[in-house]
Amino acid sequence: MSDNPDDHKPMRPVMWARALLLVPFVAMLWVSSYNTAEPMIGGIPFFYWYQLAWIAISAALIGFVYWLER
C-alpha cells in the first residue's frame, strides 16, 4: 500500500495543461450561470445537478493533468 517505487520518479510540469485547472474556478465563481431550476434531470434542478457534475469534471481534469505529467 505504500512505497510504490514509481511514486518517487520526478514529474515534469506541463504548463498548458495546468491552465485547465483554472476552468473549475471560472465555472463555479460564475454563479449567475447556474442559478436556475431548469433544465431538470430526473426531477433534480439544474442548480444542483450542474454543480454535482462539476465535481466529476474537475476530478477528470486533475486526473488528465496528472496523466500528462506522470
Binding site: 500500500m1 505504500s2 512505497d3 510504490n4 514509481d6 511514486d7 518517487h8 520518479k9 520526478p10 514529474m11 495546468r18 485547472l21 483554472l22 473549475p24 474556478f25 463555479m28 465563481l29 454563479v31 449567475s32 442559478n35 436556475t36 431550476a37 431538470m40 430526473g42 426531477g43 433534480i44 434542478p45 442548480f47 444542483y48 454543480q51 454535482l52 462539476w54 465535481i55 466529476a56 474537475s58 476530478a59 481534469l61 486533475i62 486526473g63 493533468v65 496528472y66 505529467e69
Partner: protein, 512 residues
C-alpha cells in the same frame, strides 16, 4: 425518547471494533514512535490509497455530514456552497501542496510553521503561524464532539447531567488513549472502517428515501421556492451570488492551511501521492454533495413536525435533521450502523486534529522557545502529552461553554487560518516577501477580521460598500486580500532598507 436497544448494541459493537483497531495500529508498519515524525506523521510513508482514506476521513468530518444537510434543511440553497468549495480545493491541492511536501521532506518539517521558520528565518512569524493553527483547530475538535453527542442522544440515551455526559467522556478517553499510544497510525487505520460505513449509510439513504417519497422530483417539489435557489441580487449589490461565490472560494483557500490538512499531506510517501489524491479525493465531495441533499429529503419527509422528534429538534436544532431522517426510515439495527458511522467519523478527524496541534505546539513553541535542546524522545513524548491536553480541553469546552460559542469560534477559525496563506502558500513560490512584512500583514488580517466578525454579529458574510455598490463577501476572503496588500507594500519598503532574504534555509531545488 425511548432507548433504542438494538441500535445501541450495534453502535457499541462497531465502536468496540475501532477501539481495538486503534490500539493495534501501534504495531502496524512498526517503527520507533519516539520520533516525532513517526508518531505525528506516520513516518511519512502512507501510500496513495491510505492517504485517500486518511485525508478523506480527516476533512469530511462527522460535523460536516451533520451540519451541511442541516444547513440545507434550515436555510436552503446557500449552504450548497460546500460543493463549489470542495470543487475548487483540489486544483489548488494539485498545484501547491506537492511543493510543500517536497520541501518538508527535504528538511524534516512536520508543520507549516516549521516551513515558515526555515523559509523566512523569522521565529516570530513562525510563532504566529503556529498559534493561528492552534487557535483555529481547537474549536473544530470541540465541534466533532457535537456529532457524537447528537447521535448518542438520538438513540434515546439521556444526554444531560453527569451520567448523560458519560458516553461522550468514554468515547473521548478511548480516543485519547489510542492516539497517545499509536499516533497518526490509529486514525489512518480507523479511517478505512469509517469510510466504509459512511459510504454504506449514504447509498442506503440515497436509495431508500427517494423510494419512500416517490423519487427526487417529489423531494425537490416539496422545497419552498426561496430555499430552492439563490435569490437573484437586485441592482447595486452582489447579493446572494457574491456571498455564495466568496464563501466557496475563501473556504477553499483556507482548508488546506489547517494543521490537520497539512498533517495529512505531509504523511504521504511522495509528492506524487499528493497529486494522485487531488484527483481521487473528489469522490468524497460527491458523497458530501449528495449528502447535502439529505437535508431536503428531511424537509420532504416532514421530520420536523413529527411529534417523536420534537424533543431532538428542540435540543439539537437543525443538526437533528439527519439523525431524525435515519430514525424515521431505517430499522433499528441499521440505525446503529449509520450512527456508528457518524460517531466514528468524528473520532478520525478529532484524532488527526489533536495530533496536528500536538505537532505544532511541540515543534514550534516547546522546542523553539521552551526547551531548544530537547532530545527526539522528549519531543515525541511532549507531543503525546499535548494531544491529551488538547482533547481534555475540547471536552471541557463542549460541557462548559454554550454550543453556539463553538460555532462562532469555528467561524473565526476560518478567518484566522486563511491569514497564514501569504506566508505558507506564496512562500512556496517566492522569497520576495519580507518576513516582517508578512508578520504585519498577518496582524492586519487577523485583527481586522476578528473585529469584523464580531461587528457582524458572527455572520460570515459582511456587506462591503464602495462607490454605491454593495458587495457581500466572506470576511475571511476580504481580510486575506488586506493581508496581501499590507505584506506586499511593506515588503517593497523593508526589502529596500533591511532585506532578510539571506535567512532562507531552503533552495529552489527543494521544491520539486
Amino acid at each position: 425518547m425511548a432507548l433504542n436497544i438494538t441500535a445501541l448494541i450495534v453502535f457499541v459493537a462497531l465502536f468496540g471494533l475501532v477501539t481495538y483497531m486503534g490500539f493495534a495500529a501501534s504495531r502496524w508498519k512498526k517503527a520507533d514512535l519516539d520520533q516525532l515524525h513517526e508518531w505525528g506523521l506516520g513516518g511519512r510513508r502512507f501510500g496513495t490509497l491510505l492517504i485517500w482514506f486518511l485525508i478523506g476521513g480527516d476533512l469530511y468530518t462527522a460535523y460536516t455530514f451533520i451540519a451541511v444537510p442541516a444547513g440545507l434543511f434550515g436555510a436552503g440553497a446557500l449552504f450548497f456552497f460546500a460543493v463549489p468549495y470542495t470543487i475548487m480545493v483540489y486544483p489548488l491541492v494539485y498545484l501547491v501542496f506537492p511543493r510543500l511536501w517536497s520541501v518538508a521532506h527535504k528538511h524534516g518539517y512536520v508543520t507549516s510553521a516549521d516551513f515558515v521558520r526555515g523559509r523566512y528565518g523569522n521565529k516570530w512569524l513562525a510563532l504566529v503561524v503556529a498559534l493561528t493553527g492552534l487557535l483555529a483547530t481547537m474549536p473544530y475538535i470541540a465541534l466533532q464532539l457535537v456529532g457524537i453527542q447528537v447521535v448518542i442522544g438520538a438513540m434515546g440515551v439521556e444526554t444531560s447531567g453527569f451520567f448523560g455526559d458519560l458516553p461522550l467522556i468514554i468515547a473521548f478517553v478511548i480516543l485519547a488513549a489510542f492516539t497517545y499510544s499509536s499516533g497518526l497510525r490509529a486514525p489512518a487505520m480507523i479511517a478505512i472502517v469509517k469510510d466504509a460505513l459512511i459510504y454504506l449509510t449514504m447509498f442506503a439513504i440515497l436509495i431508500a428515501v427517494p423510494m419512500k417519497l416517490g423519487g427526487y422530483g417529489a423531494i425537490f417539489a416539496a422545497i419552498p421556492a426561496p430555499k430552492l435557489l439563490l435569490a437573484v441580487p437586485p441592482a447595486g449589490t452582489g447579493g446572494a451570488f457574491s456571498a455564495y461565490a466568496t464563501l466557496a472560494f475563501g473556504s477553499a483557500l483556507a482548508l488546506f492551511l489547517y494543521p490537520h490538512s497539512i498533517t495529512g499531506v505531509l504523511s504521504s510517501s511522495s509528492a506524487r501521492v499528493v497529486r494522485k489524491n487531488a484527483a481521487m479525493l473528489p469522490a468524497y465531495s460527491m458523497l458530501l454533495g449528495l449528502l447535502a441533499l439529505v437535508g431536503f429529503m428531511a424537509v420532504a419527509l416532514g421530520v420536523s413536525s413529527m411529534p417523536e422528534f420534537a424533543e431532538g429538534f428542540k435540543r439539537y436544532s437543525n443538526n437533528f435533521s439527519v439523525p431524525a431522517l435515519i430514525l424515521n426510515v431505517f430499522p433499528s439495527w441499521f440505525v446503529g450502523v449509520a450512527f456508528a458511522a457518524i460517531a466514528i467519523g468524528a473520532l478520525v478527524p478529532a484524532a488527526i486534529m489533536s495530533i496536528a496541534t500536538a505537532n505544532t505546539y511541540t515543534r514550534n513553541i516547546y522546542k523553539e522557545f521552551i526547551n531548544p535542546g530537547c532530545t527526539d524522545a522528549q519531543e515525541s513524548q511532549m507531543a503525546k502529552y499535548v494531544s491529551l491536553v488538547v482533547k481534555l480541553g475540547a471536552l471541557v469546552f463542549i460541557f462548559a461553554v454554550p454550543f453556539q460559542y463553538a460555532l462562532w469560534l469555528q467561524l473565526l477559525g476560518g478567518v484566522w487560518i486563511i491569514q497564514t496563506l501569504p506566508s505558507v502558500i506564496l512562500g512556496l513560490y517566492t522569497r520576495w516577501l519580507n518576513g516582517w512584512a508578512l508578520f504585519l500583514g498577518w496582524a492586519a488580517g487577523f485583527g481586522c477580521g476578528t473585529y469584523l466578525v464580531i461587528l457582524n454579529g458572527f455572520g460570515p458574510v459582511f456587506p462591503f460598500k464602495a462607490f454605491g455598490f454593495t458587495l457581500p463577501c466572506y470576511i475571511a476572503l476580504a481580510m486575506v486580500v488586506l493581508n496581501l496588500v499590507v505584506s506586499v507594500v511593506l515588503s517593497v519598503v523593508l526589502n529596500a532598507v533591511a532585506s532578510d532574504r539571506h535567512k532562507d534555509a531552503t533552495v529552489a531545488t527543494d521544491y520539486v
